[in-house]
Symmetry: C2
Subunit: 164 residues, 2 copies
């Protein structure tokens, strides 16, 4: 069970928890690959969301997905950057979070294997990102505030084999 006490401490911080879409770099699925190459090189993010024209999240793209197309058996070539589009190389299998439906426990579980998770609304429109960094900050807050606000005492051990 997810600790109700920690849940209530984290709830105090909610709102500061998601990075809003307006602050996130993204590319569009129809962009040529060199555009994503430039954005990822200059923004220094390791992976960013891919949106379609309606602002729906349709994929994720990283520099390594792009540079992988540049490898030939005996050389590194730049032609794929203009020959291919973002949609040709992006990752299309990924998790999303809908804040109205995804509880904290599930969010934390998803972040074990994903550095960030796109947040969408009921129409799959991009709302922002949930990131490990924001959860590390939340954990930081919990570790510093829990014993200010709560008394915590160790439970006495239950006997495993009661006398018969």
């Amino acid at each position: 069970m997810f600790s109700p006490v920690i849940q209530s401490l984290i709830a105090e911080k909610a709102g500061s928890f998601i990075i809003p879409a307006s602050r996130i770099a993204f590319v569009e699925d129809e962009n040529p690959l060199y555009h994503a190459f430039l954005v990822l090189t200059k923004m220094k993010y390791s992976k960013i969301p891919v949106l379609d024209k309606e602002q729906k999240v349709v994929g994720l793209i990283s520099l390594s997905m792009i540079t992988d197309t540049m490898l030939t058996p005996d050389n590194i070539v730049i032609e794929p950057l203009s020959d291919l589009k973002v949609k040709d190389v992006m990752q299309t299998k990924f998790e999303t979070i809908n804040f109205a439906r995804t509880n904290l426990e599930t969010q934390l579980h998803l972040l074990v294997d994903n550095p960030f998770i796109p947040v969408v609304n009921d129409n799959n429109i991009f709302q922002g990102l949930l990131t490990r960094r924001e959860w590390i900050k939340a954990f930081n807050y919990v570790t510093h505030s829990i014993e200010e606000k709560y008394n915590i005492t160790k439970k006495t051990l239950q006997k495993e084999n009661p006398i018969t």
Copy 2:
């Protein structure tokens, strides 16, 4: 203050906490840049440590540091990959952790702004990585075990202005 209760819960998990050097991809400072380009493309890590011949951590390198050298005002070129070495583009300013000296509170603070931190011994020899992912797993453990093992009750509010 870092909660002693959470500290003791995390201490139960210590050991599983650092990813050992033997499991980490790295490059050497004298490697040509195309070697790091290949390693980062194929391993799909966003950033990896750079070691010298004595296994000391001397830098960090990401794909975007490499692809940035490939940008000219009007083109993308591959020559820098063979003309430059890892040490020419790596990041040389970075934090390290020495487990004998760095407490949990400091580790958690460092992870707010760094997805991972190299762990070194007293001779600066690479020991492994501390990652946000491992801390997310630790937080997961804390949220699920704290109320099994401890009784937690809200502190009563102290009156700020005692009756005079």
